[in-house]
């Protein structure tokens, strides 16, 4: 096992871009986690200086009610990363369970799960999210739940396909012959062998969740102000005076989203490569 981990790390580190991205991600996550301690001002309290351009005192300027933008972005990163992470966790958990059940047991249960998956998949995603966002009180918890409960069909399909092919392998067949309990086969034999593809897929879900949170919050249906999120920071840019005259209010937040998502995608891609046993 140890040798295998080493192999994966070596394959991963061949991707220079991904290694750089991993470092950037680590820094960004660290900044987000440490936001309460390192941000120079409170993200919600006005400092008394309104709509100031970036200066030595306020590196990224202040907004129209005088809040320090750097502090707001640090806190927004925290919120956006948390939303993305938890949403991914929920959808991956749902997807893995449904996929395992569907693939292993087959029959009518499999049919039912898969047609439900097809239904959710052939729904324009954003429509589902918008309708759901209109139902629940917009806010952080509901956005996490909405994204979590909408994003799973891809994982389900992936896991199901994997289980179907694993079921035909000799080690699973011999388990069945030996009369091993189903629970053991599912969780100790099949699940560990689907971890790698699921992890890779989860990175892309993570990236998508961050984008979706940003889009929804931008539309005013996600995280609500005064809690900052990367999406709702951009909301103000819809007004022409902000768009043209105060780029410091919207450009940094957008840049952070792009940086986060690009880095997550690159890392995911390198992971896919590193986990692939055909690569050597």
């Amino acid at each position: 096992m140890k040798g295998q981990t080493k192999l994966i790390i070596r394959r991963f580190s061949r991707h220079k871009m991904a290694v750089a991205c991993l470092a950037v991600l680590a820094v960004l996550i660290l900044l987000a986690v440490l936001a309460p301690w390192i941000s120079p001002y409170s993200p919600t309290k006005p400092t008394g200086k309104f709509s100031q351009p970036p200066s030595a005192e306020h590196w990224l300027g202040t907004d129209k009610i005088g809040r320090d933008m750097l502090s707001r972005i640090l806190y927004a990163m925290r919120v956006s990363l948390l939303v993305g992470f938890l949403a991914t966790l929920i959808s991956t958990a749902i997807g893995v369970i449904l996929g395992l059940v569907s693939g292993y047991f087959g029959g009518p249960l499999d049919k039912a799960i898969m047609s439900f998956t097809d239904m959710v998949m052939s729904f324009p995603y954003i429509l589902l999210v918008l309708v759901a966002a209109a139902i629940f009180q917009p806010g952080m918890e509901s956005i996490i739940l909405i994204l979590g409960f909408v994003d799973w069909p891809g994982v389900t399909r992936l896991v199901r396909g994997n289980v179907l092919s694993l079921r035909e392998t000799n080690f699973v067949k011999s388990d069945v012959t030996a009369g091993m309990p189903r629970r053991y086969i599912l969780f100790s034999e099949i699940l560990p062998n689907t971890v790698a593809p699921v992890l890779v897929y989860a990175t892309s879900v993570f990236a998508l969740s961050i984008l979706d949170e940003a889009a929804l919050s931008f539309l005013g249906m996600g995280v609500q102000p005064p809690t900052p999120s990367l999406g709702n920071l951009l909301n103000g840019a819809e007004s022409l005076s902000v768009l043209t005259g105060k780029p410091w209010l919207w450009v940094p937040a957008g840049a952070v989203i792009i940086l986060l998502v690009v880095c997550i995608n690159f890392v995911g891609d390198a992971l896919r490569d590193a986990f692939d046993p055909r690569n050597e």
Binding site: F116, P124, L127, G254
Partner: protein
């Protein structure tokens, strides 16, 4: 072939029915549209008569059943807000959305297909990495942020392109005017389409390039260019067909946000306002339409696949 098509069609119907049931269930959870009318100047009696008129006093499954029966008679209902027939409302906004989606898809694929092939052919070279990195960047830029940047440069700074609507009010709206309004929103959507698909097409072409028949063709002494043009491209068409089918739900979703930003008078704008005001019949109409479009696209993809690939049994 016809039997296969019919079978696929019959399989799609229960999925469609299921989607409408989910839609209705989610929507009724959203709360009553009557909540939106409540105010000091609206009497209880007026609310009750509205509820009776719209059938909202009945249990949800009865409401759904009525909706379904009306649908089978070809009636999508009336908007709660504008009292317009839903079919008319959708019909009058469908054109702009289809125009936007169609142009974006074509534009996106015009970027993605050559870039994907180029990248595959030059695998593991600097050029390949550049294309792949660009595709990651494309799929990582939030559509609304890209829209803001484009508006900033092309409308505010340069004043070249209009940033809202489909044609300049007051003018007749000739083709040139519509095109000028179309450039930015379709570019935003096209970047998204291209970003997702470059890598997909690249790996599809790579897979084909490793096939035995291509090795044979090369071994026969055919030039690399001819091999790619004559053998690889034709076979790469298959995955490309799939890509087009997969794009539709994503594009529709992207269109909702982009239409909102550019005030493009399409279905996305209608959808947003219907969601905001809980206009049930309109939401149901849009959901139904999009589900039909998605399922039709899936069906078409399956059929094209069967047509193009002789090894698929049906």
């Amino acid at each position: 072939m016809w039997k296969y098509a019919l079978k696929k069609l019959l399989l799609a119907l229960p999925v469609l029915l299921g989607i409408t049931i989910i839609d209705y269930a989610i929507m009724s959870l959203a709360g009553s549209p009557l909540d939106m009318m409540v105010g000091p100047r609206v009497s209880e009696a007026a609310l009750a008569s509205r509820a009776a008129q719209w059938g909202l006093d009945q249990p949800i499954y009865v409401q759904y059943w009525n909706w379904l029966m009306e649908l089978l008679r070809g009636n999508l209902g009336y908007s709660y807000k504008s009292y317009q027939p839903v079919a008319d409302l959708i019909g009058s906004h469908l054109g702009p959305t289809l125009l936007l989606m169609g142009v974006s898809m074509v534009l996106g694929l015009l970027i993605a297909i050559p870039a994907g092939i180029y990248s595959a052919v030059h695998r593991y070279q600097k050029r390949d990495y550049a294309v792949v990195s660009a595709s990651f960047l494309f799929s990582s830029v939030p559509g609304f942020f890209l829209s803001l940047i484009l508006i900033y440069f092309f409308t505010v700074r340069l004043g070249w392109l209009p940033s809202s609507g489909m044609y300049t009010p007051g003018t007749g709206g000739d083709a040139m005017d519509v095109i000028r309004h179309l450039i930015m929103p379709s570019l935003v959507l096209a970047v998204g389409v291209a970003g997702g698909n470059i890598r997909y097409i690249r790996s599809a072409v790579l897979e084909i390039l490793e096939m035995d028949y291509l090795r044979t063709a090369r071994a026969k002494g055919m030039g690399q260019k001819i091999v790619i043009r004559k053998h690889a491209l034709r076979n790469a068409l298959l995955p490309i067909v799939t890509v087009i089918g997969m794009q539709i739900p994503t594009l529709f979703g992207g269109a909702v946000i982009v239409e909102q930003l550019f005030s493009w008078p399409g279905l996305g704008l209608v959808t947003m306002s219907a969601v905001m005001s809980r206009d049930y019949p309109v939401i149901m109409g849009v959901c139904l339409l999009s589900a039909v479009v998605v399922l039709a696209a899936n069906l078409l993809t399956d059929l094209l696949y069967a047509l193009v690939d002789p090894t698929i049994k049906y």
